[in-house]
């Protein structure tokens, strides 16, 4: 009896962690190219509302997903243009993106609040995998988007640490001047990976509105975009660790609801505070750690690249 509750909690943890994971993977790519994009929350919301809107119109959640990815990418394009071409302050530009995205999504979504979505992403059973005791229900009884997120983790790891292009990406974030001289086009790389980050953020938002909830509510991301940004830091820009971190967060998020089963009665507001408090705590612990060890942020993160100023 006890075990099945834990399995249920961990399984919900995977689902709850998926949007954070997707957004974090996106932001990771962006930051590895040397650009800080704090607009994740805004991009997720725009992705969520666009995905919902298109899914509702076309009756097909996959079209919604595609639309969300495009929308996220377009939002990121604004940030890319401001920070890469116009060399604007990356922190403020990202904040502008969040504020604008939050506003835009609320504006577009006004008429969509509370509407039900007839066709959503449903869990898909994988032959063999879904039936493994314990791990099966936790990892393999979810919808396709979750499986896609697993693939993305593996793909990104392989790309970053085994492929030449991944090496080039990392060099752009560490020492853009060296990369430039090695013949790598720093601007193009940064544009590509900032937009890719936006696309993943859009996908993360779509997951919320098309699979997790599924519905549209203003501000439905509730800070998940920010948790994703923090997650990139604790995962030390490593996809595998991002997966573990998002799983941890997802589990903490859902733990609240299940607390009642254990007879622990905590006012719901404090449970809602938990993810934010834990994020702050972990961020402090991990930042302390990374300062002493050699693993740290990409050296050129947040600094605009200007070929003449050397």
């Amino acid at each position: 009896m006890e075990q099945s509750i834990w399995i249920a909690i961990l399984a919900s943890g995977i689902i709850a962690g998926t949007p954070i994971l997707l957004a974090a993977l996106g932001e990771m790519l962006t930051e590895l190219s040397g650009v800080l994009n704090l607009g994740v929350e805004g991009m997720m919301l725009v992705g969520a509302v666009t995905g919902f809107m298109v899914a509702l119109d076309t009756g097909q959640p996959w079209w919604g997903l595609v639309a969300a990815i495009v929308a996220g990418g377009l939002m990121a394009l604004i940030h890319a243009f401001l920070t890469i071409t116009l060399r604007a302050n990356q922190v403020v530009s990202g904040l502008a993106l969040t504020i604008f995205g939050t506003g835009l999504s609320g504006y577009i979504g006004k008429s969509l609040i509370g509407l039900p979505l007839p066709v959503t992403f449903k869990p898909v059973f994988l032959p063999g995998l879904s039936n493994i005791p314990i791990l099966g229900p936790i990892l393999f009884q979810h919808d396709l988007l979750v499986y896609i997120s697993y693939c993305l983790v593996a793909l990104l790891w392989f790309f970053l640490f085994r492929m030449k292009k991944g090496l080039e990406l990392r060099s752009v974030g560490e020492n853009p001047s060296a990369a430039d001289l090695a013949g790598i086009n720093v601007f193009v790389m940064r544009y590509i990976f900032v937009i890719a980050g936006g696309m993943l953020a859009g996908m993360a938002g779509a997951y919320l509105s098309l699979a997790y909830a599924p519905s549209w509510l203003e501000n439905m991301t509730a800070g998940r975009g920010w948790i994703a940004v923090a997650l990139v830091i604790f995962a030390t820009w490593h996809p595998g660790k991002a997966f573990l971190g998002s799983f941890l967060f997802g589990t903490i998020d859902v733990l609240g609801f299940h607390m009642q089963n254990f007879g622990i009665l905590i006012p719901s507001f404090f449970l809602k505070m938990l993810p934010y408090i834990i994020t702050i705590a972990v961020l402090i612990l991990v930042t302390r750690e990374t300062k002493t060890r050699r693993v740290a942020a990409p050296e050129a993160l947040g600094i605009p690249y200007n070929r003449e100023e050397r």
Binding site: R162, M163, K164, K165, L167, E168, R170, S171, E174, N175, S177, A178, A179, D180, L181, A182, G183, I184, T292, R294, E299, R307
Partner: protein, 505 residues
């Protein structure tokens, strides 16, 4: 020696807003030749080489490689032409391995990177040129000399036939510099063309075959090295005869101003940067610290200035124990500090000259700042020290290196300190500015101040110091008198050989 020169730059001109960086410059480099490119800071050497490496396009003039005219639109074209460059500030990704740095950006290496191929190639360079390095080592773990080797390997890996080195010996000990030139000679022997950009006359006179001098963007003279003289080269570089000899009055040193007793401290990564260092400086005395950059000099200066805590040992200024004093107390104790990082630490780039002038003195007079007075004081200083700036209220980052240094020194000297700590003061300055700085330091010495001078230029240390201490891996290898020791002996100490007998100080 082939008849057709390897590189020919003909009547090259490059203009930037407000300045002609290269004016009708022609340069010929033969295969198998080590060619020295000499000139002051701002003479146009870097610009010329940037054109050769495809970073800039010339406004006028042509470039011929092996007799064929080439039009280079980007650094990639230069690489295709067989031109490779080793920059003064290495373009390496510190967190990557040597192998990863070498193959970064190479086109025909496939989608995944093949470590064995690189291994084989690197080993070949080892036997061919005596440049050995572990391909799996992370760059941040290597010494500066080794990092430079990686840069050279990078260029060779891309098939460089023409190798350009920008101030290569700035970060090497005298012995390492000799080794480097040996390697370059081997490469030249294999038919490569080598260009060395330098401002060090002695090095260029020793190691090159041909020398070309630039001054103010224009060609100032070219000669075979065996026919060149120091006087002639200096005249070409500066345009007039310059006396490099400074008259140093014999001084009676006064009482001890600074005393460090077995001081140790850590660097930013928590490792021991300075170990058991003991030095003593008297009033009216200049103590020079010699050593290759990265051996604890910065940390030592920071310890004296109160910016770094002391792990063990004691520090006394004017007889008073200041072992645990921070920067504010040291300023009050009469210690002035001209840091290595002029623009960033010593001066705030985004603030104007007035703000920067009162950077330390603002704390002296109560709650409010008297801007009127501050402006007047700054104005006085600018005229008396002959500092050139467009506008008193412009951010100082717009000022040139020499003027920045003068402003910094003016502020530190005007604070009337007991002890002046100066780190790499001549870096990046032209001959005129260097002479001015030297004069200022000697004047302070005459006025009875104690000076701690940290520098990489042995000539400068020998000319200015009363004593020289050599720092290697944070330890003082020996304290010597410049009159009774040779450059070679100091060079050996810099490389780690301790002095067997102390010359009487």
């Amino acid at each position: 020696m082939s008849a057709i020169p390897m590189v020919e730059m003909v009547k090259v001109t490059k203009r930037f807003p407000g300045v002609v960086a290269n004016d009708n410059v022609s340069l010929t480099i033969d295969a198998g030749q080590i060619h020295g490119l000499l000139g002051e800071n701002g003479a146009g050497k870097s610009t010329l080489m940037s054109i050769l490496t495809g970073l800039y396009r010339p406004d006028e003039g042509d470039i011929y490689i092996k007799g064929k005219k080439v039009d280079m639109l980007s650094p990639k074209d230069a690489v295709t032409q067989g031109i490779g460059m080793v920059h003064q500030h290495f373009k390496l990704v510190k967190s990557f391995t040597v192998a990863e740095n070498v193959i970064l950006g190479m086109k025909d290496m496939g989608v995944l990177y093949d470590k064995t191929k690189i291994q084989a190639q690197v080993e070949r360079f080892c036997t061919q040129y005596g440049m050995c390095i572990d391909p799996a080592a992370k760059v941040w773990q290597l010494t500066v000399g080794e990092q430079q080797r990686v840069e050279i390997i990078k260029a060779l890996f891309r098939g460089a036939e023409i190798l350009i080195l920008d101030e290569p010996t700035a970060v090497l000990t005298p012995q390492e510099a000799k080794d480097l030139y040996k390697t370059l000679r081997l490469m030249a022997g294999q038919g490569k063309a080598i260009i060395v950009i330098s401002h060090k006359l002695s090095e260029v006179l020793e190691g090159t075959d041909m020398i070309s001098v630039l001054r103010g963007g224009k060609p100032a003279g070219s000669t075979k090295t065996e026919l060149a003289s120091e006087q002639e080269l200096t005249r070409w570089m500066v345009g007039r005869n310059v006396t490099t000899h400074m008259d140093r009055a014999a001084n009676e040193p006064g009482e001890v101003v600074l005393e460090l007793d077995k001081v140790s401290c850590l660097n930013n990564r928590g490792q021991l940067a300075v170990q058991q260092a003991s030095i003593r400086i008297r009033a009216g005395e200049i103590l020079g610290i010699a050593g290759v950059a990265g051996n604890g000099q910065t940390e030592l200066a920071e310890v004296v200035a109160g910016l770094r805590s002391i792990e063990s040992g004691t520090k006394h200024v004017g007889g008073v124990d200041h072992t645990f004093s921070g920067s504010r107390d040291m300023i009050r104790a009469g210690v002035s500090y001209v840091p290595e990082d002029r623009l960033g630490t010593g001066l705030v780039p985004g603030l104007n000259a007035v703000d920067n002038y009162i950077l330390k003195s603002y704390a002296q007079k109560g709650w409010l700042i008297n801007w009127q007075q501050a402006r007047e004081e700054t104005q006085d200083v600018i005229s008396s020290y002959d500092i050139k700036m467009a506008n008193l209220f412009n951010p100082v980052k717009m000022m040139s290196g020499g003027n920045l240094q003068k402003l910094l020194l003016a502020r530190e000297i005007n604070a009337d300190p007991r002890l002046l700590v100066v780190v790499y003061p001549m870096r990046g300055l032209d001959v005129g500015a260097m002479a001015a700085v030297r004069k200022l330091l000697l004047a302070e010495r005459e006025a009875g101040k104690a000076i701690l001078l940290i520098s990489e230029e042995l000539d400068e240390l020998f000319a200015l110091s009363d004593c020289i201490a050599v720092l290697h891996r944070g330890e003082i290898m020996g304290v010597v008198h410049p009159r009774t020791v040779t450059v070679e002996e100091v060079g050996m100490m810099m490389a780690g050989k301790r002095m067997l007998e102390q010359h009487a100080v």
